[in-house]
Symmetry: C2
Subunit: 320 residues, 2 copies
DNA sequence: ACCATATATAGATAATTATCTATATATGGT
DNA sequence: ACCATATATAGATAATTATCTATATATGGT
C-alpha cells in the first residue's frame, strides 16, 4: 500500500494503540476486535515501510519511526478535527454566511430582528440587500440571495413564502390638513388632493394602485418621490397626501396625521421567501429558525403574524 | 463515506484541482483521466457533506467550506510530507541510529573511521559499546547491537562477517631488554620471561594461547593486567614482556621494543559482523557503506584489508 | 511448569475504491 | 448559432479494505 492511501481512520487506530499501549485495549476502545486492530497495525507498518514497534522482552515499545509517525498522526488528526469543528458549526448555522434582500419599506422594521440575530450569531456573515420591489424581484430571478422579503411574493412553483409581519398601508396627511380633522374620510375626497407617490417599481405604489383599481378609481394629481423618507418629510411640510406603510412612520410622528379613509388601512403582509431550487445555506436556515423563535421579542406585538415555522417545515420537506 | 475514510491521495487530488482551477488540468497533472478526478471530487464533497464548489456562470469557485477544506488539506498533506522526508532520510541512512560493539583492542583504531563518519552524518545517532571479547560475545548473543567488531567472529549460520583491517599481534619488551638487541628471538627464550597478560576473556590472550598451543608450548610466569594501556605502561617500565595488537602501540613508542620473535607477528583480522536474524537499521547499513568507501582514507594503508563490500552484498541477499 | 492474558495469523466475505471507456451535458467565444 | 472545450454521468471491473470468527503463538507471573 502506498502512503497516500492512508486514511485518517487508520491513523486514529494507531494513535489509540500508542496511547493505550495495548492492541487489545485499543480494540476495546474503538469497538473493534483485537485481530482487526492487529491487522491495521500490520498494514500501517507495511505502508510506512518501517517497523513501528520493537518487542524487547515482553513490553512492546515504539521505534523512532513509530514515534515520528505518532507525532505526525497527532498533528494531522488534530488539524482535521479543527476542520470537522468548522463543519459542525457551519451545519448548525452558528457559522457561515447568507444574504437577505429586503424591499425598501422593510428596512424600517427588519433591523429590529437582524440586530439581535447577528449579536447572537457573531460568526455568521450576513449581507443585507435593499431595493424596491422591482429590484428585489430581479435579484430573486437571478437567484442572487438566499432569503427575500416581499409583501407580495412571486407565485412560482419553486417559491416558499411565509408571513411574519403585518404591513398596513395608511393614508397620511399634514397634521393641520382639513381632512385630518374629520372622523371619516371618503375616497373621493382624497382623489382631489395631490398624492406623493413612490416610483412605479415600488410595492407600496403597486398595492395602492391595484386597490384603487378595485374601487374603480384613479388619482388625478401625482408627484413622484424617490424614497419613503422623502415622502414623509414632504407630507409633513404640506406638499400633499401619501400612502405609506405604517412602519415608515415612527411611533410618534408630529406634523403628520393618519387619515381615517374608508377601506383603510390596506392590509398586506411581509413574507420571508426562499427558493426551493436553490440550496439554503445552513446559516440562512439558522436565521429563519431564530426568526420563528424570536419575532415576538423583537417586533411590536400589534404587527405580529408569525408563520415562519411553516416555511421552515415546508423547506424541510422540499429538501428531503 | 465517513470523513475518517479520507485518504491523503484524495486530498492531494483536491489540492491539485484547486490549484490548477480545473478538473481536466488536474487530471493531466496527476496522470488520471478527467472522469476519475470528477468522481473523486464528487466523493469528497459527499464525504464532507457540503458543496465545495459553486458554478456561477461558467467559472467554478470555491465555497467557504471548500476554502476551509483546502487549507486543512494543505496543512495535513504538508505535515505528512515532513514525515515522508523523515522516512526518506532514514531509509537513505542519513538519519536514524545504530549501535556498534567493539572488542577492547579495536578502540585504538576504530575512532579513525567513526570520527569522519559521524561528521559526515551528524543526524545519525551512533552508540559505541566497548568490552573484551567475552563481553562483546555476550552482547552478540543477546542481540544488543547492530554491528560487532571481532577478530574471530563466532561461526554461526546467521552471522555475516567481513574483514576490514589487519590486526597483527606483536611481542613487546622494554627497549633496554637484552632480547631487544637480538636479530631474532626464539620462542623458548620468551617463555623464560614474565609475560603480562590480559584477562582470560580477552581476544588477544585467546589468540596467543591458541597459537602457543599450536607450538606445543606454555608460558611459565604470567601476570594478569586489566587493559592494553596498563600492559603497555607495564612493559615500558620493565615489568615484563607482552603480546599486544600492533594497533595498541602508537606510531612512535619510545621505551618499548617489538621483538623479532620467530613466527611473529601472529596474523589476525578484525571483522565487521552483523546478524542475519536481526534487522539491520538503515543507518547501520549506511555506516558499512561508508566504511567500504572510506577505509582507505581513514586508516593506515599497511593494515588495510577492505572486504566490507562483500558483507554488504551478502546482507542484501539475506534481506531480499 | 503452567495458566491467564495478549498478540498474531489464517481464512472468509461484504463493501468500497480507484480507475477506466464511452457518452451526455454544459458553457464561453467567434 | 455553432463549435471547441470542460465537466458530469453511466456502466464496468479489478483490487483493496475493513471487518469478522477461529485458532495458534508468545509471554509474564505465581
Amino acid at each position: 500500500m502506498n502512503l497516500r492511501h492512508l486514511t485518517f481512520r487508520l491513523l486514529e487506530v494507531y494513535v489509540t494503540v500508542v496511547r493505550t499501549g495495548s492492541v487489545t485495549a485499543a480494540a476495546r476502545q474503538l469497538h473493534l476486535t483485537q485481530p482487526t486492530v492487529s491487522q491495521q497495525l500490520k498494514r500501517l507498518a507495511e505502508t510506512v515501510g518501517e517497523p513501528l514497534f520493537v518487542a524487547h522482552s515482553g513490553a512492546t515499545d515504539l521505534t523512532d519511526t513509530g514515534r515520528e509517525l505518532y507525532r505526525a498522526a497527532l498533528d494531522v488528526t488534530g488539524r482535521f478535527a479543527d476542520f470537522q469543528d468548522y463543519l459542525t458549526e457551519l451545519q448548525g448555522g452558528q457559522r457561515g454566511r447568507f444574504s437577505i434582500a429586503l424591499v425598501n419599506t422593510a428596512q424600517y422594521v427588519l433591523p429590529r430582528l437582524l440586530g439581535p440575530y447577528s449579536q447572537a450569531f457573531p460568526d455568521v456573515d450576513m449581507t443585507v440587500e435593499i431595493g424596491n420591489r422591482q429590484e428585489v424581484l430581479e435579484r430573486f430571478e437571478r437567484q442572487l440571495d438566499d432569503i427575500y422579503v416581499f409583501s407580495h411574493p412571486p407565485s412560482l412553483e419553486q417559491v416558499h413564502a411565509a408571513r411574519f409581519l403585518r404591513n398596513p398601508l395608511v393614508m397620511i396627511a399634514p397634521a393641520q390638513h382639513p381632512l385630518a380633522q374629520q372622523k371619516e374620510v371618503r375616497l373621493a375626497e382624497i382623489l382631489q388632493e395631490r398624492l406623493l407617490l413612490r416610483e412605479p417599481g415600488s410595492a407600496t405604489r403597486m398595492l395602492f394602485e391595484s386597490w384603487l383599481q378595485g374601487q374603480g378609481a384613479q388619482w388625478s394629481h401625482g408627484l413622484q418621490m424617490a424614497s419613503n423618507g422623502a415622502i414623509r418629510v414632504g407630507v409633513a411640510s404640506g406638499m400633499g397626501l401619501a400612502v405609506v406603510s405604517r412602519h415608515v412612520l415612527p411611533d410618534r410622528h408630529p406634523g403628520i396625521a393618519i387619515l381615517p379613509v374608508q377601506g383603510f388601512p390596506i392590509e398586506s403582509h411581509w413574507h420571508f421567501i426562499i427558493r426551493r431550487d436553490r440550496r439554503l445555506p445552513h446559516a440562512a436556515r439558522g436565521f429563519l429558525e431564530y426568526a420563528a423563535g424570536s419575532l415576538e421579542q423583537c417586533l411590536p406585538a400589534e404587527y405580529l403574524c408569525n408563520e415562519v415555522s411553516e416555511l421552515f417545515s415546508q423547506t424541510m420537506a422540499g429538501t428531503a
